[in-house]
């Protein structure tokens, strides 16, 4: 039997890459395992509700701050204080993935209970077994919180897509939550790291087309107002169906266009703006 040598070379290549000690292809845990840990955390830490005495409020959101350096991050917390923001949602890639980055990041956070912060893990945060670092510091990456004003309550869902997929368990959780809870709230917002729509040609990974279809269908059926993501380091803003898909610029100090999203609820209406830092 004559055998092609290239097939063995290719098998050897796959074997070598897959057993790379830095796990460049094979992650240390599955999306379902991360989701299960998030649910364990949620079982011990009740979902948060922000109660406001005013009907109007502001929430800030950033993506891809990639600490290392913290100049922009420090500035953001000053902005949040000056604008009397009700919360900040950080939609992943908080760090470059190193445990030292996590140490640095945590050092620069405002004192606990002065400003509600909501963290979501991104692909960089999970790299090099970074999920453990994230989980030990911030806990769950799949949860919801609500903002209750005197006349209405809004629903904010945070999803973990660091591995470029929700995984089937998290997808089921999302579907069940939207089905059972959505109608109890006025507005619904989704925050997650990985952008869903590929508005331009990119080598940045997005969920597979089948998952995109499933999610767009869910967001449409349950009247999700805005989906806020990062990951691609390039701002995009488009309405598809009845849902607005916002992709944030990277907030890292290296990015000349670094900025944040200012999400306002005024007189029950949603408005938003992109602000440079």
């Amino acid at each position: 039997m004559r055998t092609s040598p290239v097939i063995f070379l290719s098998l050897l290549f796959i074997f070598t890459v897959c057993t790379d000690e830095k796990n460049t292809i094979i992650p240390t845990e599955s999306a379902n395992e991360r989701f299960a840990e998030s649910m364990q955390w949620n079982a011990q830490h009740p979902y948060r509700e922000i109660i406001l005495t005013m009907d109007d409020y502001t929430i800030l959101s950033i993506a891809d701050c990639h600490v290392g350096s913290t100049k922009n991050l420090d500035q953001l917390f000053i902005v949040a204080k000056n604008t009397n923001s009700s919360a900040i949602v950080l939609v992943g890639d908080l760090t470059t993935g190193d445990s030292q980055d996590y140490e640095e990041f945590v050092k620069h956070l405002p004192p606990k209970d002065t400003l509600p912060l909501f963290f979501i893990a991104g692909n960089h945060d999970e790299f090099y077994s970074g999920w453990k670092e994230f989980y030990n510091r911030f806990g769950s990456s799949t949860y919801y919180f609500s903002v209750k004003t005197p006349h209405a309550t809004d629903y904010f869902i945070c999803l973990e897509t660091g591995g470029a997929t929700l995984g089937d368990d998290q997808l089921q959780w999302l579907e069940e939550n939207l089905k059972s809870k959505r109608e109890d709230y006025r507005h619904c917002f989704i925050f997650t790291h990985n952008n869903l729509l590929r508005a331009h040609h990119t080598l940045s990974t997005t969920p597979l087309a089948e998952e995109v279809v499933t999610l767009v269908q869910l967001f449409t059926k349950y009247h999700v107002g805005i989906v806020i993501t990062g990951h691609d380091h390039l701002q995009d803003d488009r309405l598809f169906g009845i849902t607005r898909y916002i992709q944030l610029d990277a907030f890292s100090d290296e990015n000349r266009n670094a900025g944040y999203l200012r999400l306002n609820i005024n007189n029950g209406m949603i408005s938003y703006s992109f602000e440079n830092i």
Binding site: A164, R238, I242
Partner: protein
């Protein structure tokens, strides 16, 4: 005189979005005349969380040419998937395909458009400017390496690709496919394939998306 081929196969597996096991069957017919080929195919749901019986169609036309006396094939195609109650996904594109003794290779591009159905537009009162979304210039690739020469009566191949008969993934979502081919006689061949799908490659960190097995038959009518 032309040549007609029919490929029929069934996929059984699970993906993150299928809520358990899925079973799909497909039939693809092609007719080759001279250096030209036309092909069409239909996908059928046997067990799925999608209620549509026929969620996919495929139409392809290709022409073979010679480059330094070796055949190359240029393909144009259209795929449509209606795997959702309210969305359709349409892909069109072109592929350049070469086959050699121990490998075949395809490279091309596609445009993918997601669009809401008329019923969804009416139900959800979707504005005209928010009905469709197009992903431009997605790179398509497939490299298959074979243990034996292509015309052997049995063969084993390993592929890295981002597309299949009825699905095209983003270029950053490669799939690995191990296939076994066995020729029963001049007209009939059997195929068995195992597919492993990841949620991404250039993400620095990507998870499992799906796995499925395919078994089928190729019938060549001379």
């Amino acid at each position: 005189m032309g040549q007609t081929k029919v490929i029929a196969f069934t996929d059984v597996g699970t993906k993150n979005v299928t809520h358990g096991l899925f079973i799909k069957s497909s039939a693809i017919g092609s007719y080759k005349f001279g250096r030209n080929l036309i092909e069409s195919g239909l996908l059928m749901n046997v067990r799925s969380n999608n209620q549509r019986l026929f969620p996919g169609i495929r139409i392809l036309a290709s022409r073979e040419a010679l480059n330094r006396k070796k055949p190359v094939e240029l393909q144009g195609f259209l795929l449509q998937n209606t795997s959702s109650d309210i969305l359709t996904e349409t892909n069109y594109g072109a592929l350049f395909h070469i086959k050699r003794k121990y490998y075949d290779f395809a490279l091309g591009t596609n445009f993918r458009t997601y669009a809401f159905t008329r019923r969804a537009i009416d139900t959800y009162e979707i504005q005209n400017n928010a009905v469709r979304f197009t992903e431009p210039w997605n790179l398509m690739y497939a490299l298959s390496l074979y243990l034996k020469q292509m015309n052997s009566y049995w063969n084993i191949g390993l592929s890295l690709t981002n597309f299949d008969y009825f699905l095209i993934y983003q270029e950053t979502n490669p799939e690995i496919n191990l296939k076994i081919l066995y020729q029963l006689n001049d007209h009939l061949s059997l195929l068995a394939e195992g597919w492993y799908e990841t949620s991404g490659l250039l993400n620095r960190y990507a998870n499992f998306f799906g796995i499925f097995a395919r078994t089928g038959i190729k019938w060549t009518i001379k």
